[in-house]
């Protein structure tokens, strides 16, 4: 009988531990790619995060090993499309023992929660993460209302 919250906590920790073990096991077969949902398997499109910072939207996209020449970003109103090609970076003169990192092209499109100022969108690529900063249209920005 669990009389304390710590016992329940402990049980969940044990389950977490098992989950991690299984993850590591699958990882050894090169199946699992990771992510928030640890049970999910490799996706063919890159994962994204979207943040709302008041006057602008910010998106982060996982694009390991991609260079900016191979990435395309299109915006229109509240529509955003990201496409890219991941080319093989197999070095010459080497024999491959194991190739888990796929080479593929992808396209992913989004409907953003607000219209954005397409002229002021900025994109930055660092450490395999693409960060888009998308200022909102004036009408969509939050307004401070002063009390008279």
């Amino acid at each position: 009988m669990w009389t304390r919250w710590s016992d329940v906590d402990r049980m969940f920790n044990a389950m977490d531990l098992l989950q991690h073990r299984i993850n590591r096991m699958y990882g050894d077969y090169g199946r699992l790619h990771g992510g928030r949902n640890e049970w999910e398997v490799t996706q063919s499109t890159p994962r994204t995060n979207l943040y709302d910072a008041g006057d602008h939207l910010s998106m982060k996209i996982e694009v390991p090993g991609m260079i900016k020449e191979n990435l395309n970003i299109k915006v229109q109103g509240n529509y955003l499309e990201i496409s890219g090609v991941r080319k093989s970076d197999e070095p010459e003169g080497y024999s491959a023992h194991r190739v888990e990192r796929g080479t593929a092209s992808f396209t992913r499109s989004f409907t953003l929660p607000t219209d954005i100022d397409t002229a002021k969108v900025e994109a930055k690529l660092a450490n395999g993460l693409l960060t888009l900063t998308m200022p909102k249209q004036e009408a969509a920005k939050p307004k401070q209302i002063e009390i008279n």
């Binding site: 009988m1 009389t3 304390r4 710590s6 906590d9 402990r10 920790n13 977490d16 991690h20 993850n23 590591r24 699958y26 990882g27 050894d28 090169g30 699992l32 790619h33 990771g34 992510g35 928030r36 640890e38 994962r47 994204t48 995060n49 979207l50 943040y51 709302d52 910072a53 008041g54 939207l57 910010s58 982060k60 996982e62 694009v63 390991p64 090993g65 991609m66 260079i67 970076d89 197999e90 070095p91 003169g93 080497y94 024999s95 491959a96 023992h97 194991r98 190739v99 888990e100 990192r101 929660p113 690529l125 450490n127 395999g128 993460l129």
Partner: protein, 128 residues
């Protein structure tokens, strides 16, 4: 034996609160030529200073911690903070002193040079 008494004497200090970040095995390509073994590891979003590579007793331990900072409120989140972890067995023929790594575009390239003794050698046949 009273179960209730057992619960009462349990020590609070043994509380295993390990709300740590998930551990994920990164995707890896392994190449080899006559001079070295080369690893390409996908680690998007990991900073150079958060990567550790340890070679100990024939094992290569690879770890990279990723911290994603949220800007404002989260609308959706498909990836987050995690630790990329993977262990490999490396042959004894690797010269661990000369191992070097570079990080570019979220891909770690790890060069494991073979020691001189392990390199293939052409044997010349001498004629009388």
């Amino acid at each position: 034996m009273n179960e209730r008494a057992e619960v009462a004497t349990r020590e609070e200090s043994s509380l295993e609160r390990s709300h740590d970040i998930p551990h994920i095995a990164p995707l890896v390509d392994i190449y080899e030529n006559k001079d070295e073994i080369l690893l390409h590891v996908d680690m998007p979003g990991v900073d150079k200073k958060d990567i550790t590579v340890n070679i100990d007793n024939g094992k290569l331990y690879l770890s990279g911690i990723r911290k994603i900072e949220a800007i404002g409120s989260v609308q959706w989140e498909e990836f987050g903070n995690l630790e990329y972890m993977r262990t490999f067995s490396v042959p004894q023929t690797i010269d661990s002193a000369k191992v070097n790594a570079e990080l570019k575009d979220g891909v770690l390239r790890l060069h494991l040079p073979k020691s001189e003794a392990a390199k293939p050698r052409q044997i010349e046949i001498k004629s009388d």
